[in-house]
Structure formats: structure tokens, C-alpha cells
């Protein structure tokens, strides 16, 4: 894996927002790491530490206040073609039904939706368990259903790089597990580089090659953990004692600092 050139590279990135009151909000500082080709990297960190900001930097939607984010060795100055994103909010379009929301990237990027795209959309909806809801309108879906539509949408164009911001947060344990394994299956069948933000330590361990653990605001990388478990991972992996141990280590890592809190 080290032989591959880094797909995503953060070079000493710093992000400072200007609040509406004019005061600076120091969101990220000193981010410096690389993500290799077809790597599955999770990001863990306290709420408000800058995970979504990190993802938006990779996507090219915002630009770092200092340092640079590179994709395939090129500085990111605007959004790129090969990226698919699941935002933290579902961000669906109320004027389309579920299926058209899923095919939206095709329509929006290439101007039209082919028959195959509609078929693929239905497949993806089946995959996220919403085959029956293809013709429904967005406001008839539950919160978790909307999130799943957003996941299906991000997968439609089969992107090289997949950025996912807490995609399973509104899902129950069962659906979550199912979706995790589906994601792994897709990832292994059509390899892609995945940056996956989550609050679930087991999920991060189950899915990723490496886990970036972030510290509180201003967010920075506290530790990058290699996940040693062999692939394909299954339900069994969860009961591996090493799994629990690593989970506890990360837990300790995340829970350590804020003794003051």
C-alpha cells in the first residue's frame, strides 16, 4: 500500500473561520497526513472538533486558511470529479422523488439520466432497504430513510474517492451493521479510497484500514491507528479479543484529555 502515491494528502493544514461576530474560530490546526490509494480511513473525534470541516476541505468546497490539501498530488482548489460525498445532513431535494434524488448526480453532472442509471438507482435503493420507496416524496421518509437515500446517491456514480460524514448515525444497530457490510462489499468489489467519519468506535474498527483520532477544538490529529484485522471482516471480527482491546485503547485515547470537563 505504501508503494501507491498518496491519494489524499494534508500538508500542515489549518482552518480558521470568521464568525458572524467577526471573531476567528480556530477549527483545525496542524493537520499533516496521507491517505493511500484504496485505503479505508475512518475519522473519530469529539463533537465540534472539525471532522466535517476536514471532509469539506478534501471535497474542495472550502479552502484551508494555511497549508494545502492535495489529491493525487494536485492541490485542491475546487471540487473534483472523482469524489462522492455523503453529507452530515441528508441534503435531499424536496422537488424530486426518492429515485430521482438518487439519480440526481447523473442528471446534475451529465444532464440526463439513462435507463441504466435508473436501474442502478433501484439496485442501490434495494441495497439500502428502500426499494418500496422509490416513488415516494422526501417528506414521507423517516430520518434514517433519508440518510439511506443520501448514501445511495453518493454511490450512484461509483466514485474513486468516497467521503462519508456520519452516514449511519441515524440508523438502528441492525441496519447499521447491514449497511457496513454492504459498504465493505462495494469497497472490495470496486476498490475506492474512503474517508469515513463516525462516532462509533466498533464501526471504525470493523471498516477501516486506519483510524484518525482527533483531539478537541482546535482539532488536530491525536493519533493514527493501524487496524490489524484481516479482511474480509465478518461478525466474528467483532468478538476477537484484540478488537475489544483496540476499541478500549481508542476509547481511552478519546476519553483521556478532558479531565477538566
Amino acid at each position: 500500500m505504501a508503494a501507491n502515491p498518496p491519494v489524499i494528502r494534508f500538508r500542515d493544514v489549518e482552518q480558521i473561520f470568521t464568525g458572524n461576530d467577526g471573531r476567528p474560530i480556530h477549527a483545525l490546526t496542524g493537520l499533516d497526513f496521507e491517505i493511500s490509494r484504496h485505503e479505508f480511513v475512518s475519522v473519530l473525534g469529539p463533537s465540534g472538533c472539525g471532522k466535517s470541516t476536514l471532509l469539506r476541505l478534501v471535497s474542495g468546497l472550502i479552502h484551508p486558511s494555511a497549508g494545502a490539501v492535495e489529491i493525487y498530488g494536485m492541490e485542491v482548489t475546487e471540487p473534483r470529479d472523482e469524489i462522492g460525498i455523503v453529507f452530515q445532513k441528508p441534503t435531499l431535494l424536496p422537488w424530486f422523488n426518492v429515485q430521482n434524488n438518487v439519480t440526481f448526480p447523473m442528471r446534475h453532472k451529465y444532464g440526463r439520466v439513462h435507463k441504466e442509471d435508473n436501474e442502478r438507482a433501484l439496485e442501490l435503493l434495494d441495497l439500502v432497504g428502500l426499494a418500496d420507496f422509490a416513488q415516494k416524496r422526501i417528506d414521507e421518509l423517516s430520518g434514517g430513510m433519508q440518510q439511506r437515500v443520501a448514501i445511495a446517491r453518493a454511490l450512484l456514480l461509483d466514485p474513486d474517492i468516497l467521503l462519508m460524514d456520519e452516514p449511519f448515525s441515524a440508523l438502528d444497530a441492525l441496519t447499521r451493521d447491514e449497511m457496513s457490510f454492504e459498504l465493505l462489499r462495494i469497497w472490495s468489489e470496486r476498490p475506492k479510497t474512503v474517508l469515513f467519519i463516525t462516532h462509533s468506535i466498533p464501526e471504525a474498527l470493523l471498516l477501516s484500514d486506519r483510524i484518525i483520532v482527533m483531539s478537541e477544538r482546535p482539532g488536530t490529529v491525536r493519533e493514527i491507528i493501524d487496524v490489524p484485522f484481516a479482511r474480509p471482516r465478518t461478525m466474528q471480527t467483532l468478538s476477537d479479543p484484540a478488537f475489544t482491546e483496540l476499541a478500549n485503547h481508542i476509547r481511552g485515547e478519546l476519553f483521556s484529555k478532558p479531565a477538566a470537563a
Binding site: 475546487e78 473534483r80 470529479d81 469524489i83 445532513k89 422537488w95
Partner: protein
């Protein structure tokens, strides 16, 4: 009980109109309001039937034609304009004041220029109607285009779809409630605009008819023209509502779908 409410809901508008007409008629009788001041509904109707139907049709057609053409022209120009304004801050800062200038110029003052430049016929009237109609559409649509939530824009940007698609797939659909609100306002403005144009330069049309009748102090006849005019406006207004309901139901509030 529920049925009564449904009935009430259904016929309330009609009943309200009947009520108003009744009060109006009664008032003209009771207070002996002279017909040259405020003619009674019956005298208006009588005056209306006193005019030859073919004359009516001629005037209605003249007004309707100009109003619809001006309205269509306004939409055709205002929406692209709103898109340009929303896309470029520079353009918006440059064009907006000029639009305000155009909008706030009283048409009567520049009517001679328009008529002389565009000659006789429908053209100058269409242009005058257009000038009166287009501004609300521009302002409202621009506001809607700019009000689109950041997150939807980011979705579009992340797909690198380009500004055009961002406008047509995201901003315009989002702006539809704003747009339709303006389109509704503009129907009546289109009719008013046509009437103003007909006051300034015309030999036909309801505006001309009203001005003409007034110049003879035939007020009931003028009012009958007014009634037709108002019915025209109402029809256009309703039509816009119908189009919205039919083709963009999600742009309506839940209660009105």
C-alpha cells in the same frame, strides 16, 4: 357538521362577492348615490349589455392580447435577468440600480419616446406592459435564487455540474415559491400596464373604452368595462395558481396542494 364547513369553504368566495354586490346595490339605493359617482351593480350590468357584444369582443381581445404578450415578454426577460443578477455580484450591483430606474420611471413621461420609436400597433403597448410587469419578477426570482440553502449549493458544487445546472436543478426549483408569488403579482400588473398603455396610446382595448366612457361621463358604462377588466385579471391570476398546482405542487404550502 364537517359537510357544512366544506360547503362553506366551497361557496364562501361566491357568497362574499354576492354580499358585497348586495351591500353596494343597497347603498346606491339608500343613500341615492348618483350613478355618475358610483353606479349601482344593476346599472353597470345594464350598461354592459347596452354595448354591442362584437364591440366588447374587440376591446377584450385587444387588451388580452397585449396583456398576455407583455406578460410573456416580462417572464421571458425577467427570469434570465434574475439568473444573471444572482450569478454575478458585479452585474447585480451594476444592473439593479438601472432596473430600479426603469421601474420607477413613470411610463406616461416616456410614452412618447416609446410610441415614436416603436411606431403604432401593439408593439409600444406590449413594451409598456412589459416595463410595468417585469420588475417584481426580477426582484422576487433573484431573492429566491439567492435564498437557496448553502447545503444544496454545496451538493451541486461537489458534483462539479457547473453554474447552469446549479441554477436549473437547484436554485430555480428552490426559488419557485418566490417566482410564483411574483407571477401572481404580475398578472394584475400586466393588465394594469396594458390599461395604462391604452390610456397613453390606443384606439382600442378596455383601457381605451374606460377612458372614452369616462370622457363622456358615462360612468356605468366605464364601470362595465372595469368589471370585464377585473374578470380578466382574476382569470389570469387563477391561471397562474392553476399552473403552479398542476406543474409544481411541491412549491405550494402543504395546506394548498
Amino acid at each position: 357538521m364537517k359537510n357544512i364547513i366544506r360547503l362553506l369553504d366551497r361557496f364562501a368566495p361566491v357568497m362574499a362577492v354576492v354580499c358585497v354586490l348586495g351591500i353596494w346595490q343597497a347603498a346606491t339605493w339608500l343613500f341615492a348615490i348618483p350613478s355618475f359617482l358610483l353606479p349601482s351593480p344593476t346599472s353597470i350590468v345594464a350598461a354592459g349589455f347596452g354595448v354591442d357584444p362584437s364591440v366588447w369582443i374587440g376591446h377584450i381581445w385587444a387588451t388580452l392580447r397585449v396583456a398576455v404578450m407583455g406578460y410573456a415578454l416580462a417572464i421571458a426577460i425577467a427570469i434570465p435577468l434574475a439568473i444573471s443578477l444572482s450569478m454575478s455580484r458585479l452585474l447585480s450591483r451594476t444592473l439593479y440600480p438601472m432596473l430600479v430606474v426603469i421601474q420607477s420611471t413613470p411610463i406616461v413621461a416616456v410614452a412618447p419616446i416609446i410610441v415614436v420609436t416603436l411606431g403604432a400597433g401593439d408593439m409600444p403597448k406590449v413594451v409598456i406592459t412589459f416595463l410595468i410587469t417585469f420588475f417584481p419578477i426580477v426582484v422576487s426570482t433573484t431573492t429566491g435564487l439567492l435564498a437557496t440553502p448553502e447545503e444544496l449549493i454545496e451538493l451541486s458544487r461537489s458534483l462539479r455540474a457547473g453554474r447552469t445546472r446549479e441554477i436549473f436543478h437547484i436554485r430555480l426549483p428552490y426559488a419557485l415559491p418566490f417566482l410564483f408569488s411574483a407571477l401572481k403579482i404580475s398578472t394584475t400588473l400586466a393588465v394594469i400596464g396594458t390599461v395604462v398603455a391604452e390610456f397613453v396610446a390606443a384606439e382600442k382595448g378596455l383601457g381605451f373604452f374606460i377612458a372614452f366612457s369616462t370622457s363622456f361621463f358615462k360612468i356605468p358604462q366605464a364601470f362595465s368595462g372595469l368589471v370585464i377588466l377585473v374578470l380578466l385579471s382574476l382569470t389570469l391570476f387563477r391561471l397562474v395558481g392553476f399552473v403552479q398546482k398542476r406543474f409544481a405542487p411541491w412549491s405550494l404550502p402543504k395546506s394548498e396542494r
